[in-house]
Subunit: 295 residues, 6 copies
């Protein structure tokens, strides 16, 4: 994006960074290369949002501070390193905007961000990612929000998952999430409501709390985002995602991530382009939210 | 898909199989490799339909019984061999779900299935495939349903074609089909009705008869299914296809095919992924229909 | 397309030709190869429009007269050569349908066509292309319609731009165009109106004047047209473009172009296929318009 | 190539033409699209051979006369049509240079060319293509030279096959060819001799007779020609093929073909580029040979 | 390959199996998908080796017994599972031929195979893979043969590494291996000797002991094998590899693997095709070696 | 490469930089994206040359100082800007190593470097690039070394061109270069000599003068470098290029460039990988040469 590069988050309002880790992927990996390709495709983006006219780089001090340190052979060590890295961002009073990486990376980010209490969360995703175990493991791309609820990082009654539609391992796969109070706007409901009304419903769920936003690129239809870790045909369009995100203006978003872009699975870069575009939309939300908070 | 492999259809309720033949394609061939790629992409599909909660493998005994024997240098011999192969499936009291191959393969399947009388049929397709001759030939990918009507395999008054939109060789190209009583829900009507109402109209056409379902992947928009034999921009989305298919629950579907996926034209596998996903939707219909019939 | 090849425009009603030039592209070039790939993909198109039943080759004398002479090392010389080439088309009483090339090529075409006064214009595009300078240059792919207004080639009060949505260099980037009286139906309005009503609004803008049509392929969503010079996620579908174009029947369209297809950026040819399909829709409009004028 | 297009072979010394047929391929088809892609890639070739300084277009009257008429649904009809088409070329006193298509097409060409007696032949290929039957069929891409010997079209004692190396269906697969007197310079011998000495040995085999040249692109290594119908790792390089062909100067080559380029299997066009380059080398041989004969 | 599928190794002479694990890759992963793609490409291989006329399926009882059980989220558990799986192969008196997976998988295979003492080993590879640690980890794709020497699984004085050429982390990176007595025929020496003489030197190193063969596909030049985990330009050709392997006939090879094919990095499958071809060459060696041992 | 990023050349011994310009390409453009892709692929390269054990980053102070300022719509302005940029590098006493860009960029670099007199030059290339005009223009990718000789930037008697082989526009195309005294080691001679002896001959040509090195990636065979601007089948391998370059140790190389890598023509990055590898080889030469000069 048209942002400066920086070595540290000092003095920034919003710090963007990559998290090149995909050790949590059980099948289609490659998201470790996501940050590089999304940065490259972000060169096509200009300064001002056409629809909202938000100019994030005018509103806030924003920079790309490089990649979080990860060990691509060691998941546990990487989770700690990411958490610590985000801590330095927060200590500098900057809000984090992370580029994954697989969905596991949301967990260490939330661990840093929820130091003062559980956050609200908006998750756009084809899957709930609230399984207990994945291949017998507690930390993997299918489990981060189970852990986040268990650890008190997010408040399930203020958590909304949007775009859920994947085929299921079992018919009761989502029961745990629903029992915790998580709101699920699945694909059928999303289509029935339309993107704008779906956003309005999401707003009501998270109202009153600082909110984290996580966007799994597999929420998009595989026709437009074939380079996702998971692929669930019948997803939302980029246009729908844009309308949804723009309708969230005003929510106090304090951090965000975009995850699961796997360049080896889409060398043409279309998936990364969509991700870069949606990151820009989220950056506009973050910048306006920060700017409002500072007033 | 998450099904077992079997050598024979004995004991099965539903037998899936490939038909690796594309000798009926006059221009963009390659559908002979469709079964292999669709099988590979089907590994991304889990056990339970998110929207309908149908779990086909719980409802029925289902297996992949491999490929029908075809001779990739001899169309006539292949048509006979396919018909005979499907006969063994039916003799085992299993319902066939075929993976093409080009659209010619529907004809020998229908020849086996219509032994006791003409079937109703739902065809999702960009083209009517009711030409009399193609390059002077009676058996080719553009003619199977002309032959099927002539041979009494399908009842044209109980046949509905959905998604038709291709540019035409002549303005009267569809007159024969309409004169036979075939119902055409073309792309303009499909959009005007919406996918769910289009399905309801289709239900009315086929009501009261055992029904065959054939899905030509070129019904989808080339943006999401570039690896189709024919490519007609302006097609339906996978989401629309899913909604259409799910609205067909309850119809006595007795056999089905998905055809015209050509892997060499889409090595990334997006087309095959969409086909695998729609096959799963059709499998859910077949399984529920069989289960209902057995009660 | 199923048209004849001709060496000269003599005796033709509509002359199609390529303009293999991309010296006006500042970032993603390659549109110089557009004509070749669009011709190749146009082989999939048949003779008759499914929805409107227009058969352009029956209505008019149409041929492909090859490529306009350009010098791929000299932008100025090329602009002159294109203008002169179009002059020979017009002198033969044929209407031009050009295949780009980058968007700069519209300017020399308009210079030839507007000899008798400013034209109305319908522009389908993600960007307004009315910047004053691009990298300090007056002639480039982002400036042709600023020049066309300045030179009196198009009447801004009879000019409508459809599908505009790209991120902006500055919040006032479109102020000049609006101040001239250009009507902008941006993406948000296009979606709110629907494609058919957007077309009806466009008709009202251009009513009463001979009209030029220019279609930048980046108006389409990058998911379906990744091989465009610019890429702006969240665009229109081919289906929407078809509905929009078909609703323009009856307008006196006197010339047209389709631009910015860059084959190196989409070797699979999906973008060129969409372009060929939309060219056929525009050809139907041109042919019917010419036929009406001749009656 | 930098040749003119012509409608008929009248007045030409050498007539190049496409044969877009792949009905003889039993597994990896797509060669029907070979002529189009090879023509496109041939635009990179200039007028004069660097090494031999032969300028074929100066030596002879050469043109591309389009494609032979084939029926892509009917192999037998196509074989007749090709034979007849070549007959018109020969009747015009032109020498044919064909672009395949699969290897089956050499047979009808030879049937026309051998009207006055069996020809000598140089075949560069990974396979001998002298099987008796392929999937039970007499006419297919693996059998043309069995048929050609049986029909007296080529003289086996004056036939040399170069580059043979494919894994075999049985250990005695080549016994028939050897028993007829065909000379096989297999890959091991080709490497041991070097390309130039291999050519000298080939010259000795065909000495004294008019010679046909057939080049199956699978003779090249799959690393450089992945878009071949058959793929046999461990093949010759383009450089070796160039040296081999250049060393054949002076042989009375009266006709030739380059076959088995399948664009869907190599959309990047590298295989077609290699084929176009080798066609140019063969064209140089044909032109010099024709020029010598005319002196 | 043209082998049967089997559920167990019982009764087999040679058991082929996949090891879909790439958790040992620190940078370019994807080798977990190697077995599937290599199996697919192996369909192009016939029954008999052209050069040696070895027909492995006639000599031995050979089958593909599927994939070793691995946990794609747990490297340690996977190493144990692979070792145990190979144990069942050996217990059935079959010789293992594994398809990787990244190079880490050689270690658990060797742990099973070296139960009765250290083996000789021939390693074809661009890298020595004898680092002590990789990103601080003892088990990874760059360390297996350091571990294998330390654990006494291979005898370094009877180990030869062929094709080594990668840029180094430090100038003394290979000192440990050389100090242990490992023989390195690096790329410069391989070229100076030629493939056949390099094989003869390798034979002398391993003479007198049961020998394991491991082939890292990155030994090949990236031009022919771009889908390798590591990529070191300037490698050996498939032809050179074939000549090298064929010259090893007579050595008592008791097990082998081919590793590091990463399909996402080469969706066209050329790398997997080369791997399948070289696996066939190794299978011929294994089969002849087993057959000799049984006489 | 494993080098630091720097904003200025101050304090460096060798300054690497990109020149993202392809306005000099008349046909296959895209080299403007070369620097980005080569940088990305250079991440696979480690610190020490395997064969020569040269560790350039230990010998010299080396950094990547970003891209030279170019205007992608203005060739003349860009040539001036490049020349000025290189001047700043030289003023800082650093030696330039440029990444193109098309071959036109060598001219402004030489203009800066030859301030004190004509340089010797080694050019590895498929074409001589000494045409007088290209499409009527004096500055283009086919003319830089005609200009360089005319302007006295290089001494033709101390200039050697290696790997020349492209088909020619006319048989006398190279006469001018030869008349000036340029030495041409064409592909035939390169193969006859072998890479090492070709290098020794090149050394003799440039002996005694400061030498510039320019490497056009189209010197490599298109099988390994398909993403080149020009493509001439039958080229040198990366291995041959490595051997050639390593044999040039000791020559006083004072600057260099690697040009014509066009990422859109090879999105897989194989061409850029080869270019990065050869850049490392050249960097080793530059570093050792600088180090020798400093002793």
């Amino acid at each position: 994006m048209r942002s400066r590069l920086r070595d540290t988050p000092e003095g920034l309002d919003i710090a963007m960074f990559g998290v090149p880790l995909d050790l949590g992927s059980s099948f289609r990996s490659g998201a470790r290369h996501g940050p590089a390709q999304i940065r490259e495709m972000s060169r096509l983006i200009r300064e001002v949002n056409y629809s909202t006219k938000i100019a994030p780089f005018d509103l806030c001090d924003i920079a790309d501070i490089g990649d979080a340190p990860v060990n691509s052979l060691d998941l546990d060590a990487s989770l700690s390193a990411i958490q610590q890295f985000v801590q330095t961002v927060l200590s500098a009073d900057a809000r984090p905007l992370a580029i994954g990486g697989d969905h596991t990376i949301s967990l260490p980010i939330l661990r840093s961000m929820a130091a003062d209490g559980a956050l609200a969360m908006i998750q756009v995703d084809a899957h709930s990612d609230t399984q207990d175990l994945m291949l017998g493991k507690k930390y993997a791309s299918g489990t981060p929000f189970r852990r986040a609820v268990e650890e008190g990082l997010i408040d399930p009654r203020k958590t909304v998952q949007v775009g859920i539609r994947g085929t299921l391992f079992s018919a009761d796969e989502l029961d745990w999430a629903l029992a915790q109070g998580i709101t699920i706007i699945d694909m059928d409901e999303f289509e029935a409501l339309g993107a704008a009304d779906a956003a309005r419903k999401a707003r009501r769920v998270v109202a009153g709390s600082d909110c984290y936003m996580t966007f799994d690129i597999d929420a998009l239809d595989p026709g437009v985002a074939p380079g996702a870790g998971g692929l669930e045909p019948g997803g939302i369009s980029v246009r729908q995602a844009q309308v949804f995100l723009r309708e969230l203006r005003g929510i106090p978003i304090v951090g965000a991530d975009v995850v699961e872009v796997s360049p080896p699975l889409d060398p043409s870069g279309g998936t990364a382009l969509a991700a870069a575009n949606l990151m820009f939309e989220i950056l506009c939300l973050l910048a306006e939210s920060h700017s409002n908070a500072s007033d």
